[in-house]
């Protein structure tokens, strides 16, 4: 996306910077973000040191019990599992996004915009109802399995309640956030580069890795960030499509705010999750921005 690719921006000339107006414009939204976002995160952090009263309501305190409870083999395993699912989601999304974006951007011609619209429309129309439809379609006696049995291809496959179902749900929900940035990068690519690459490298695969991929890496990096982080904290996919051993971090947090009746523990989990995400994000941005410095 454009904001990630600031190389072409000129520095603002002084006269435009002499700006009470622009500073004033910043004031209201900043106040809003502080009031709602910053404060709410602050309360989460504060409550993570809290306790639960006898009538089940959360209260501030000064206890580190919640953080000590986090250091638990089971929770750590959950973290690794969530990480694994999120990485799988990113990998599959990339494998889908590049061919699709490539086909639409460079071969869509007149229908490019319609094709992109056709991709975007479903994604912004009730994720939940589409998940519900998948449950019905993929169940052991659902349409897909009936089709497989009827055509003799297979005896029936167990799709639902497996890790692949959860990952599939995650991909289904987030792949558009990978397609759009890569599509944008491809759109701005000078096609003659690819043509030149083909002459130079004598093969589509090598051309892809040597020319196309590096040239569109801004889009790729943006997409990875937009898919990996939300997928890591997702709970809906595991809850609707998951099995006995597909519990994710997001489910754990949700559990504490509902059945577990332990908002302080849930807050501590949230803080830990955000800390982990921030570390991952910063490391990722460092690693990718040094590459972006290259001309």
């Amino acid at each position: 996306m454009a904001v990630l690719d600031r190389r072409g921006a000129k520095p603002a000339p002084r006269s435009a910077q002499r700006t009470w107006l622009w500073g004033a414009l910043l004031a209201l939204p900043t106040a809003w973000m502080v009031a709602f976002f910053v404060f709410s995160m602050a309360i989460v952090v504060l409550l993570s040191f809290g306790r639960t009263t006898n009538d089940g309501f959360p209260a501030f305190a000064t206890s580190t019990a919640n953080y000590r409870a986090l250091w638990n083999d089971v929770y750590l395993e959950l973290f690794w599992r969530s990480l694994l699912y999120a990485l799988a989601t990113v990998a599959i999304s990339v494998l889908i996004a590049y061919p699709v974006a490539y086909a639409v951007a460079l071969h869509g011609g007149r229908y490019k915009n319609a094709l992109i619209a056709a991709i975007v429309v479903p994604f912004f129309a009730s994720y939940l109802i589409r998940m519900y439809a998948w449950k019905a379609l993929l169940s052991d006696d659902g349409l897909v399995n009936s089709g497989l049995r009827g055509s003799g291809l297979s005896d029936g496959v167990t799709f639902l309640n497996t890790p692949w179902a959860v990952i599939g749900g995650l991909v289904y929900g987030f792949v558009v956030f990978m397609i759009l940035p890569i599509y944008a990068s491809l759109e701005r690519l000078d096609v003659s580069l690819i043509e030149a690459g083909k002459d130079l490298y004598h093969g589509p695969v090598r051309t892809f890795f040597s020319v196309t991929l590096p040239a569109t890496r801004a889009g790729l990096y943006g997409g990875v960030l937009l898919v990996f982080l939300p997928a890591l904290g997702d709970f809906v996919s595991a809850q609707l499509l998951g099995g006995a051993s597909t519990f994710m971090m997001g489910n754990l947090v949700q559990q504490q705010f509902t059945e577990g009746q332990n908002w302080p523990l849930g807050s501590a989990l949230t803080v830990a999750m955000m800390a982990a995400l921030t570390v991952l994000m910063v490391a990722y941005l460092r690693a990718t921005s040094t590459q972006a410095q290259e001309p």
């Binding site: 404060f39 602050a42 309360i43 504060l46 409550l47 809290g50 639960t52 009263t53 006898n54 009538d55 089940g56 309501f57 959360p58 209260a59 501030f60 409870a69 089971v74 929770y75 395993e77 959950l78 449950k135 019905a136 169940s139 052991d140 006696d141 659902g142 399995n145 167990t158 639902l160 309640n161 998951g242 099995g243 006995a244 051993s245 519990f247 489910n251 754990l252 559990q255 504490q256 705010f257 509902t258 059945e259 577990g260 009746q261 332990n262």
Partner: protein
């Protein structure tokens, strides 16, 4: 409004407020309704709106804890449908107002002489609640796929159904099932007993397909051959959905089954308690209870509607909840915070491992 966070500065002092008196049963505004999704027949609700000229504004919760959190946050609902133990909790905290049966024309449908509900375990003297529905939890299975059912909770470990077994994604229900198998109290929070129950539940995971409360869809979609199930859901599955009812059956295990009931309550801060009273009265009319039963397949303890339910459930006697069932000890009782958190921690470990 206060400074951010003020609401989290609290102490443990118990609340001691007198019970607000019952409202009269007369319309005083639109009804703000808070319930599980799809828990009343839409046409019954619509009939109420048309007959009394008021709107019913509906909100849904997907857990009792979620319901409680919204109430505690100060939301003003006119009528709520908590599970029995939550009636105890809400009353204890002074969050309910009294419901005077004398105000309800159809009160004798549930509060007739000799009725259990005059003195239910969760509401002494039936001061704050009117019974809504009752149900038990058992095991549903596919007769055409599984033939080795024994009538015990052990059936949820049935090897013939390996990979097609589901346990309810509900802390109280799952723990109760394990407790009953081991001979413990369903409300136990003793560390040693919880440890045993945890091992038992984890031993199921190799055979288990998932923890899910979507029992009807799991069974009808063919994913489930054996499902930890609520009695009403089973009846709906078999009578209302299945192409071949004979391929499903239900059992109430011999070690004991949890019995639960839902009730109508009116929160103390309700803005239109009068309308709520009229609504309860309306739902107690036998013809409306029958419509609701045909929609939900759960029994409503409305005297003149009970024969209709007996008819619905005639092929599956295990789904029937007798009045005598209501007096057994397998009911979910209110527990202290420490106990709840011990149980919750155990359940989380089971689900996450």
């Amino acid at each position: 409004m206060t400074l951010p966070g003020c609401a989290y500065i609290r102490d443990d002092a118990p609340v001691d407020t007198p019970l607000p008196p019952s409202a009269k049963a007369e319309i005083d505004g639109d009804l703000v309704y808070f319930n599980w999704a799809d828990y009343l027949a839409p046409r019954v609700v619509k009939g109420f709106q048309e007959e009394y000229g008021v709107k019913v504004i509906e909100s849904n919760y997907d857990s009792m804890e979620g319901m409680y959190a919204k109430l505690a946050a100060g939301n003003q609902y006119d009528i709520v449908f908590p599970i029995a133990k939550w009636v105890v909790k809400l009353r204890r905290e002074g969050k309910l107002r009294s419901i005077d049966p004398a105000q309800l024309q159809n009160a004798d449908q549930v509060f007739y002489s000799g009725s259990y509900f005059n003195q239910p375990w969760y509401d002494a003297g039936s001061a704050v609640s009117v019974p809504f529905t009752v149900y038990k939890t058992g095991v549903g299975w596919r007769t055409d796929k599984v033939s080795t059912m024994t009538g015990s909770w052990q059936d949820l470990w049935n090897d013939e159904a390996r990979g097609h077994i589901f346990t309810l994604d509900d802390q109280d229900e799952a723990l109760a099932m394990a407790a009953l198998l081991l001979g413990y109290d369903v409300n136990t929070a003793k560390a040693s007993e919880l440890e045993e129950m945890k091992k038992l539940l984890i031993s199921q995971k190799g055979l288990l397909r998932a923890y899910s409360s979507d029992d009807i869809n799991n069974m009808v979609g063919g994913d489930a051959w054996v499902h930890h199930m609520w009695s009403g859901d089973f009846l709906y599955l078999q009578q209302g959905l299945a192409d071949d009812p004979a391929s499903f059956d239900f059992e109430a295990p011999s070690e004991g089954t949890p019995i639960n009931s839902d009730a109508y309550v009116i929160p103390a801060n309700a803005q239109h308690p009068g309308t709520a009273m009229v609504f309860i009265d309306y739902l107690l009319r036998p013809e409306n209870a029958i419509k609701n039963m045909n929609y939900l397949y759960y029994p409503f303890p409305v005297r003149d509607a009970l024969p209709a339910f007996a008819d619905l459930a005639k092929d599956v006697p295990a789904c029937n909840v007798e009045i005598s069932d209501l007096e057994n000890e397998n009911v979910f009782r209110l527990l202290g915070t420490d106990e709840v958190q011990r149980r919750a921690a155990m359940w989380t470990e089971v689900k996450a491992s």
